[in-house]
Amino acid sequence: MVAGRHAPRGVQGVRMGIRHWGAALLAGAMAAWTPAGAQTLTLAVAAAPTSVDPHYHNLGPNNALAMHIFGALVDTDAAAKPRPGLALSWRAVDDTTWEFKLRPGVTFHDGAAFTAEDVAYTIARVPTVKNSPGSFLLFTRSITGVQVVDPLTVRMTTRGVTPLLPVDLTQVHILPKGLGAEPATEDFNALKHANGAGPFRITAWRASDRAELARNDAYWGPKPHWERVVYRMIPNDSARTSALLAGDVDLIEAVPTQDLVKLRTDKRVAMAEAVSLRVAYLMLDLSRKDGQPFVQGPNGETLTTNPFQDVRVRRALSLAINRQLIVDRVMEGAAVPTGQFLAPGSFSYVADLEPPKQDLVEARRLLAEAGYPNGFRITLHGPNDRYVNDEKIIQAVGQMWSRAGIQTKVEAITWPSFIGRASKQEFSAFFAAWGITSGEASNPLRAMVATFDAQKGTGSANRSRYSNAALDAVIDRASSITDDAARERALIEATRQAMADVALITLYQQKNIWGMKPNLRYVARADEATRAADVSVAP
């Protein structure tokens, strides 16, 4: 049975209230409940969206909610590959021009027809959003002009070759031009402007608590099974699991690993899982030539060299890690070991690049060869409240390094403090993870491997300050090839070189795991989004 538990007032009352009282009484008007019905889905997400405005804050949870209400030109399938969304097809006319053919017969929630003008309006709106803590400009900045060819054809000219423009546009949700000049974020949260072409309309919004959605019967795609969706936000892991077990919600995302073993054998719960685009890695500080703040000699003496400058040391540290053991024991199987950025089946996956097997003998040999026969002392840092099992992972790595002769201390600190210090190169070695939203290798290569260069916008997450001019050239070339097959070959080459030089130590790809009532099915996605339209009832 998949019924809403709460039944008092109708949704109609909410909309009336908002129309009459406007934003001032928002808090008051938002509390109506979903009527009980056989076609209500209650789901719980692990991270709360911060706004209904799809262009306010570029953040996974916001984009996942926006997917329900709005919709982008290009959509992504469960494996994160681009597929037609509001655009039926796209092609590169020349090196700096993309042409999109739009889907005919699409209407927004208010009944207005979707045309190329709306695309132009959306691209122009993105930079005008006020106070944005993370702008979608990131995806539209390369666009220098939008040309409306006819109502269903739009051309975009770009600054330089931008092969990834269609992928970038998967994050940019289309708004109807009827919203007028510079619609305010607050008006989206008050549901005045929450008008899109997505499978659901939003009927209630209570920040950090819940959103309520109603099916858009005029949706262009397959009609979702659910008339109503209650989109709850329960960041606390055990609260989320209990809500599922107690039957308060029908489906949860991000099933905590400590509950996996129990839930996998529990008849009240069905699971769906997919390897994600989030890769866990270690970075070793290369910003210093002499010495390291958290590395000392084997007897605690100060070092005048930075051991990580030697690729043999980096390789030894990678070989000392038993990735399979971490995946099996710490992650409870909710990950797959890796020696590169992406999982099998992704664009630019390197088929013959196996995850490194633990080899302590070789690791010790490499260390001795590099001039550290007795190893050294090191402190490995990591967050303790950000990634799945982050603190346990660094403990496991620490023990493995110690076995290879590198006496490792671990220190886990809270994320707000951790990330600021990591960005200032205050650590010698740290653990983190990276979500590859584009689903292909140019994104991690440009952000984490390419030399830190504010002018070019590369290396923005290269906190180790790894720099390799030859590899930079390969990455630059690879990210400016329009032809897909040729670009994939170039990206594979760049990945291969980055991994051979141990620019960073990749450990595993996380799995995304959903838990649901046994009569439900979910198409597990590589991105972490939970899409109500992809939840169905088992036949």
Partner: protein, 324 residues
């Protein structure tokens, strides 16, 4: 009385000013909000844009000055995360926390005082001993563990109560409350009990200690000798005398319950202010943190004021002192 009030208010204003400085500097030391809020894949140019958009490119003293001049006009800044006025965010979540805290306080008074009286009047009975034993558990078990156990038993195993969330609400005086509907009360039962548990034990033990202390006193003996009924002795004479410490503690606890119901609100996914502050700290949402803490300082000042006034009602000696 007036000068006393005035002095208290000036003190309060000073405390709040100091608070803003401490919080401003403190939050600045913890980390950089942009690092946390911005999409990890943002490049350097986007980062610079976000820093400027949030006004973080200005020197700290200038940011503080802007905040202060805004605060004097009743504007405590906009949340970095939600792009809404910080005060509005807090006000939106306040009813949820208030009703939870007030229910918890009522529970602790309604359950704590009678149980404490019983344990005080019959200290050697089995009931009295059992109450005292249980009260130790009441304040020594960690709230989050008790919360999880409550959920496991009443929601997951027995299925009597909903596990988390606030449930349906109904409007009263323009605000949404959940204690007005049956289902809302069911949602509130476990978090309120969880929040109240420690306080029930505290009130209970205070009451018992007070009763034990007062019973041998001369005025009780005298009242008995006068032939006043035992009920009147206990409920009028003794109770009135032991209420002073209880009122103090309950007053302070109300503040604590409202301000720091963080754990209970997180475990039960209760959309109140406690959850807002912990979420805001996690993402270094500076305006919300500052506004929230200022409000809490104000709250404590007001509660202390009310407690002091209550003393004068309850204790004639205090009344005399303030008159002098």
């Amino acid at each position: 009385m007036t000068t006393w009030m005035l002095r208290r208010l000036i003190q309060a204003a000073f405390v709040m000013l100091v608070m803003t400085v401490i919080v401003f500097i403190g939050v600045n030391v913890i980390g950089d909000p942009v690092e946390i809020l911005i999409s990890p894949e943002a490049d350097q140019a986007e980062r610079a844009r976000a820093v400027a958009a949030l006004g973080l490119d200005k020197p700290l003293w200038e940011q503080y000055w802007r905040f202060l001049s805004g605060a004097l006009q009743g504007d405590l800044g906009r949340s970095f995360v939600f792009n809404e006025p910080a005060l509005k965010l807090i006000a939106q979540r306040m009813p949820a926390t208030l009703e939870l805290a007030i229910t918890a306080v009522l529970l602790s008074v309604i359950l704590g005082i009678p149980l404490g009286l019983y344990a005080g009047l019959r200290p050697n009975s089995i009931g009295g001993r059992a109450i005292m034993g249980a009260s130790i558990l009441g304040f020594s078990l960690p709230t989050f563990w008790v919360g999880l156990m409550l959920i496991m038993v009443f929601a997951v195993q027995l299925g009597w109560l909903p596990s988390t969330g606030r449930g349906p609400t109904r409007e009263l005086f323009g605000v949404q409350w959940s204690f007005l509907t049956w289902d809302g009360l069911r949602h509130m039962a476990m978090p309120a009990l969880n929040l109240a548990l420690g306080n029930i034990a505290l009130v209970l033990r205070l009451t018992r200690a007070g009763v034990r202390e007062n019973l041998p006193m001369d005025y009780v003996k005298f009242a008995r000798a006068k032939g006043i009924s035992p009920n009147r002795v206990v409920f009028v004479h003794v109770l009135k005398n032991i209420l002073i410490p209880i009122v103090t503690v309950v007053g302070l606890e109300i503040g604590g319950l409202i301000a720091f119901a963080v754990v209970t609100e997180s475990v039960f996914a209760w959309p109140g202010m406690g959850k807002l502050i912990i979420d805001s700290i996690n993402v270094l949402d500076r305006p919300v943190i500052v506004a929230y803490l200022m409000m809490i300082v104000l709250l404590f000042v007001v509660i202390n004021l009310i407690v002091d006034l209550l003393y004068t009602v309850l204790d004639p000696r205090v009344r005399l002192e303030t008159k002098e």
